[in-house]
Every structure is written in C-alpha cells, then in structure tokens.
C-alpha cells in the first residue's frame, strides 16, 4: 500500500581514521577508571559510523511502528473495525509487508550496486573505479598465485 522508493548511493567505505595510538592515551600508570574512559572513547571513535547508523535505523523503525499503528487504527475506525493493540499490529500482515517491502528493495539496490560497479564505470565519479585502469591491480588480489592456500 505504501510506496517503496529509495535511492541512496552510499558513501562506500567505513571512514573512521585509524589512529591507533591516541596521543593522550599513553599514560602507563593511569588509573583504571581513566583507562576505561579511554577505551570507551576509542571504541566510539572506531565504531561511531555504525553506532550512529544503528541508532538512526532503530529510531526510524520505532517511528514507523508507532505511526503505522496509529495509521492502522485510523483505517480500522473508518471501516468500523475494532482497534488493535501495538503488539497485535506488529503481527499483522500490513506491518510485516511494510517492513520487508522496503528491506527487499534496499538489499536489491545495494547488492546490485556492489555487483554493477565491478564492471560498469562512471568517469569522474568517486563511487566508480577508474575506467582507464583496466584490470585493477589493487582490487581483488585473490588470483592464481594467492589462491592455493587453504
């Protein structure tokens, strides 16, 4: 019932810069509370992109669930049907359909994007390989010489 529309070109790589040694984190006899804080700080810095994406995903999924529930009950009311509880709504076909129709299109999009970019180019795009460099030497080193080892 709802449109699935979605076009999002991802920024392709995880970006957190890999500063292994935080300059201030080198105190050898720092108390453990301080070390815990530093470790938490490092964890957040190393994984911030995924953490924020998880947060936004959960936020909007919860938003969808609640607004979808209200919307569903509006329809029930208009058709003189009984109101349903939140968990009852989650078990309805409309909730599952709304979730999976979008996930389906996302994974189709992302999967095809990964595959299409292996052999299609867009000159000048940061998302594309360079069409002038045929047989990319740096991507995919899993070739004859490396292969037999496992």
């Amino acid at each position: 019932m709802t449109k699935v529309g979605s076009r999002h070109r991802p920024t392709s790589q995880p970006q957190p810069p890999r500063s292994r040694n935080h300059p201030t984190s080198r105190s050898p006899q720092g108390n453990s509370r301080h070390q815990d804080q530093q470790q938490t700080g490092k964890f957040v810095r190393d994984n911030g992109l995924s953490l924020v994406l998880v947060g936004l995903f959960v936020l909007f999924l919860v938003g969808q669930t609640f607004s979808g529930w209200l919307h569903y009950n509006e329809g029930q009311q208009q058709h003189r049907q009984p109101q349903v509880g939140l968990f009852e709504y989650i078990r309805t076909g409309s909730y599952g359909e709304a979730v999976f129709e979008n996930w389906e299109s996302e994974f189709l999009q992302m999967g095809l994007y990964v595959l299409l970019t292996t052999f299609l180019f867009q000159r000048g795009s940061a998302e594309s390989k360079d069409p002038d460099k045929s047989d990319e030497p740096e991507t995919g080193g899993f070739d004859a010489e490396d292969a037999p080892r496992g």
Binding site: P16, L61, H71, K129
Partner: protein, 106 residues
C-alpha cells in the same frame, strides 16, 4: 579573494547541499502528492479532506516517511559493516579480496 573564499566554502560542501535540496524537494513532493491522493479517497468515501499541513501531521505521512528512512539506514549500515569481513572482487565498494579485516577504507 574574499568572494572566491565563499564560493570555495560552498563548493566544498556542494554534495551534501545538493542532497539536502533533493531531500527537501522530495519531502515536499511526498506531502503534496500524498495529500492529493488522500483527499481523492476521502471524497470517494464521503470523509472530510485534509490540508497539506494536516496531512503532514498525520500518522500516514510519518508512517510512509519512517518506513523508507529506516530501511535506508539499514542498507548503509549493512554495507559499512558487512564490508569489514566480506568481499566482492573488483567492486570499488569492497576492500581487495586479500585485504585484512582490520584494513579501513577502499
């Protein structure tokens, strides 16, 4: 030099600015065409029509928006996280096949 500085400043964020504009236009399009579709059905069922602002405040509008938004972030999350351990040979979205999991960036 001053003026060039401003142009340069804008240009250095032009990609996100362009996406912000596209988002705003699409959001408006969603509301305008959404209320049109809603009102057409409302008339057919003998119910009261809504203004655009009422429609933007409705559960239907936010249900549709959140439905799309959550899945977008799931998709980006998937590529970010899965590309740590999984590979697609020859794709600029992937690390090289032999790259260690600890390697960051293309």
């Amino acid at each position: 030099v001053k003026k060039g500085g401003l142009v340069c400043k804008v240009y250095s964020h032009s990609l996100s600015i362009a996406f912000a504009i596209l988002f705003a236009l699409s959001f408006a399009g969603h509301a305008l065409w959404g209320v049109k579709a809603y009102n057409r059905e409302a008339v057919q069922h003998g119910e009261s029509v809504r203004s655009v602002w009422e429609y933007i405040g409705s559960s239907q509008f936010w249900f549709e928006s959140f439905q799309n938004w959550q899945s977008e972030f799931l998709a980006i999350l998937a590529i970010v996280v899965l590309s740590i351990w999984l590979r697609e040979k020859g794709s600029p979205e992937s690390k090289s096949v032999m790259a260690p999991h600890s390697k960051t960036g293309g």
